[in-house]
C-alpha cells in the first residue's frame, strides 16, 4: 500500500518533469499520433522526446516484462500510471499494433527467440507492425482464407492477397495468417507467421475510403519467402492465436463508445452548436430527447464495461461478453456521430472550406460507419451472443 503511494508520487514527479506541455492535450488529428517505425514521422520535437522518454522506461508497454524492454509494472502500478497520465491529460506516447496486438500474442504463444527478437523494438517504437488477416471477398468469413504458404524445408513461400491491412504501406513488419494445410478443415490448416514488409514480393496499395483517408491497404504477396523461425507457436494452430488477437481487436474497437464519451460530452457539443434556452435546456426539444436517450445509453454502457471488467477480475465473468461490448459500443458510437452532425447542421456538411477544420467532423462521422463492420460485424457479434451466450440455434 505504501509502495503504491510512493510509486504514485514518483510517477507524478517524473511525468511533471518529462511530459512536454504540448503533449498534455488530446490528439486532434492523425498527425498528432505517434506510430514510430523505421522511418518515424514526428509532428514535433516534443512528440519525439515524449516517445523516447517513455520508451526508455519501458512505459510504452508498462506491463510487459523488463527482460523484453517493458515497464515490468504490476496491474496496480500500471493503473496508477494511467491515472497520473490522465490527470495531466498526457497523450499516448506511442500508438502501435505491436503493443496492442502482436506483442500480447507473442508473450502468450511465442517462442523465447521470437520474444527476444521482436518485443524490445516494439517497446522502443522502432518497428511498426501491420496485420494480414482479411482477404478480398471473405468479409466476416475469416477462416475461409486462401493465402497459401508452401513448405520449403526451412522456409515457406507465400502467395496470396490481403485486404484491410491497416497502414500496411507504412508498416515494417506484418503478422499474417496463412493456410499451411489446404486439405484440413477450414480453421485447422491455418498458421500465424511474421515477415518483414521489405521482403521481395510484398506490395501494398492504399484503399481510398469514403472519409477520404486511406488507412487501409490491399497487400499482394507474390512468392514471399518467410523463414520458419518466424512461425508463431505451432504450425496449423494459427486459428487459436487469431481468435486471441480478434478478441483483443474487438475490445479495442468496443472501447470507442467509451472513449468518445470521455471526450467533450455530446450534450456540450450540441449545446455549443444548437444553443440553450432560457431554462438552461437544449434549445431544440426533439434533439434534446434524442441526445438524452443516447446519453443514458452511453452512461449505462460505460458502467457495463466497468462492471464486466470488475466481474472478470473477480472471476465471475460471462464468456463472450466482448461480443456484447463490441456490438453495443460501436452502435452507440455511430449514433453519437449522427447526433453530432445533426446538431452542427450545415457546418458539419462542409468538406473543404476555409473554416471547419478541413471537414474533420464529417470525416469522423463517416469513419464511425466502419466500427460495426471491422473486427467482426455487428451481425457476427449478434450471432455470437445468440449462439454462445443464449444457446440459440
Amino acid at each position: 500500500m505504501f509502495d503504491l503511494e510512493d510509486f504514485r508520487a514518483d510517477t507524478r514527479a517524473w511525468l511533471e518533469e518529462n511530459c512536454p506541455a504540448s503533449m498534455r492535450e488530446p490528439a486532434r488529428e492523425d498527425a498528432d499520433r505517434c506510430w514510430g517505425g523505421r522511418n518515424p514521422q514526428f509532428k514535433s520535437e516534443d512528440q519525439r522526446l515524449w516517445m523516447e522518454r517513455m520508451a526508455e522506461r519501458g512505459w510504452t508497454a508498462p506491463e510487459w516484462p523488463t527482460e523484453y524492454g517493458g515497464g515490468g509494472l504490476s496491474k496496480e502500478q500500471a493503473k496508477i500510471l494511467r491515472e497520473e497520465m490522465g490527470r495531466i491529460h498526457a497523450r499516448s506516447p506511442l500508438d502501435s499494433f505491436g503493443i496492442w496486438m502482436i506483442g500480447p500474442a507473442l508473450l502468450k504463444y511465442g517462442s523465447e527467440a521470437l520474444k527476444k527478437q521482436h518485443l524490445p523494438p516494439i517497446v522502443r517504437g522502432e518497428i511498426r507492425w501491420c496485420q494480414g488477416y482479411s482477404e478480398p471477398g471473405a468479409g466476416s468469413d475469416l477462416a475461409g482464407l486462401q493465402t497459401r504458404a508452401i513448405d520449403h524445408g526451412d522456409h515457406y513461400i507465400v502467395n496470396g492477397q490481403k485486404i484491410w491491412t491497416s497502414y500496411a504501406n507504412k508498416a515494417d513488419w506484418c503478422f499474417c495468417l496463412v493456410r499451411t494445410d489446404p486439405d484440413a478443415k477450414k480453421q485447422l490448416g491455418i498458421s500465424l507467421v511474421l515477415f518483414d514488409m521489405a521482403t521481395p514480393g510484398v506490395e501494398t496499395r492504399p484503399i481510398k475510403l469514403i472519409s477520404g483517408a486511406s488507412p487501409f491497404c490491399e497487400t499482394f504477396l507474390t512468392d514471399v519467402r518467410v523463414e520458419k523461425s518466424q512461425l508463431v507457436g505451432e504450425e496449423n494452430k494459427g486459428w487459436t492465436y487469431a481468435k486471441y488477437l480478434l478478441t483483443h481487436e474487438r475490445e479495442m474497437i468496443s472501447g470507442m463508445g467509451r472513449t468518445a464519451s470521455g471526450d467533450k460530452a455530446l450534450w456540450e457539443l450540441v449545446a455549443d452548436a444548437a444553443g440553450m434556452d432560457a431554462d438552461g435546456k437544449l434549445d431544440d426539444p426533439m434533439l434534446r430527447t434524442d441526445v438524452a436517450r443516447w446519453d443514458l445509453d452511453a452512461m449505462a454502457f460505460a458502467l457495463t464495461s466497468e462492471r464486466i471488467n470488475a466481474e472478470a477480475k473477480a472471476g465471475q465473468g460471462v464468456g463472450a461478453a466482448s461480443a456484447m461490448l463490441k456490438y453495443y459500443g460501436t452502435e452507440l458510437n455511430k449514433r453519437r456521430y449522427e447526433l453530432a452532425i445533426a446538431a452542427e447542421g450545415a457546418d458539419a456538411m462542409v468538406w473543404e472550406g476555409q473554416a471547419h477544420k478541413g471537414g474533420a467532423l464529417p470525416r469522423a462521422w463517416l469513419r464511425t460507419k466502419a466500427n460495426s463492420i471491422e473486427g467482426g460485424t455487428t451481425e457476427v457479434q449478434l450471432n455470437i451472443i445468440s449462439k454462445n451466450i443464449l444457446g440459440l440455434g
Partner: protein, 372 residues
Amino acid sequence: MVNLVLDDDARMLKDSAERFMADKLPVKELRRVRDAEDADGFSRDAWAEMAAMGFAGALIPEEFGGAGMGHVAMGLVMEAAGRNLSPSPLFATAVLGVSAVTLAGSEAQKADILPRVAEGKLLLALAVDEFRRHRPSQVDTEATPAGDGYTLRGAKLNVADGHVADRIVVSAKTPDGAVGLFLVESGAAGLEVERTVMVDSRNAAILRFEGTPAVALGDVGAGAGALAQVLDIGAAHLSAELLGLSLEAFERTVAYINERKQFGVIIGTFQSLQHRAAHLFAEIELVKSAVLAALSALDEGSERTPLLVSLAKAKAAQVADLATNEGIQMHGGVGMTDEYDIGLYMKRARPAAQMLGDERFHTDRFATLRGY
C-alpha cells in the same frame, strides 16, 4: 466510484431471496390472490415469513429491530420479487414506508413504528401522487395546524397498498406553502379509501382527506428533502424489480423459442429472432449495471444518486417494455392467453415502469441533472 460487483454475502442473499420467492411467492401465488379476489391482494402468512427472513426490516436500522442490510442487498430481494411477480407489501411497506419513517421520522416515531414493521405487524403506504402521471412537485393537499397536530384536506391517487396500510405517510402543503410529510392512521376520521385493482392485479387506492387528523412525520420543514430521497429510493428499487422481471421474461422467452417448432424447425434457429434476442440481452446487461450503480450510490450517499437513479429507472422502464413486448410476440398466439405467464409479466411491467416516474420523466430529469 460505485461498486459494481456483488460480494459473497450479497450473492448468498441473492440466492436465498430467489429461492424464497420461487418457493413461497411464485407467479402461481399472484394468480391465486387474483382469482380469489383476495381482499388484501397478498398472503399475510407469507408476509410473516418474509419478516422472519429479515426482508420486511431489510432497510430498517438494527437499533430499530431491522437488518440494516442496505440498498444493494434489498435490491436483490426486489429483483427476486420481480422475477416471480411476487405479491407482497415489500415495496409499499419495506421500501417506501420504511424509508420515509427512517429519513423523516422523529426518534419516538421510529421507535414506535419500525420495530413493528420489522416484525411484519404493521403495514405502511406512501401517498404522493395527485395527478395521473408522476409529478412530485404538484402538491395541492393541504395540512392545517390543529391542536398538537394537523388536519388534511385533499386527495391522493395511485397509493400502492393504500387499502391495507395501518399508517400512511402523506405529502401535503402547510399554510406557508412548504411541503411536509404527515402520518395518518388507517380508519382515521374523514379518510375515505377507495380500493382499485390495477392491471397487474395489485392494489392501489385513491385516498380522500376531508379534515383527516394527522401528525407531522418528524420535523415538517425537513419533509421535502426527505421525500426527495424517498422517491429516489423507491425509483431505484422499482428499477431492481423491473430488472428481475425483464430477466425472467427474457429467459422464459429464450427457452420457449428454443423448444417451439414451426414449419418443422425450432423457431429459435431463425436468425431474425436470434438477433432480436441478442440485442435484448445487451440491453438487459445495461440495465443490470445501471440498477447496481443506483443502489450502490444510495448506500454510499453519493451525490450522483439522483442522476444514477434516473438513469436506472429510465433504462429499466424502457427495457422492460421491450422485453415484455418481444416476449409476447415471440410466444405468438399462446402469449396472448391468460394460461401462459408471459402476459402477466407485461401487465406488471407497465405500472412498475410508470410508478414514481416513467421513462420520459426520468430521461428528462437525467438530462436536467446532466446540465442540459
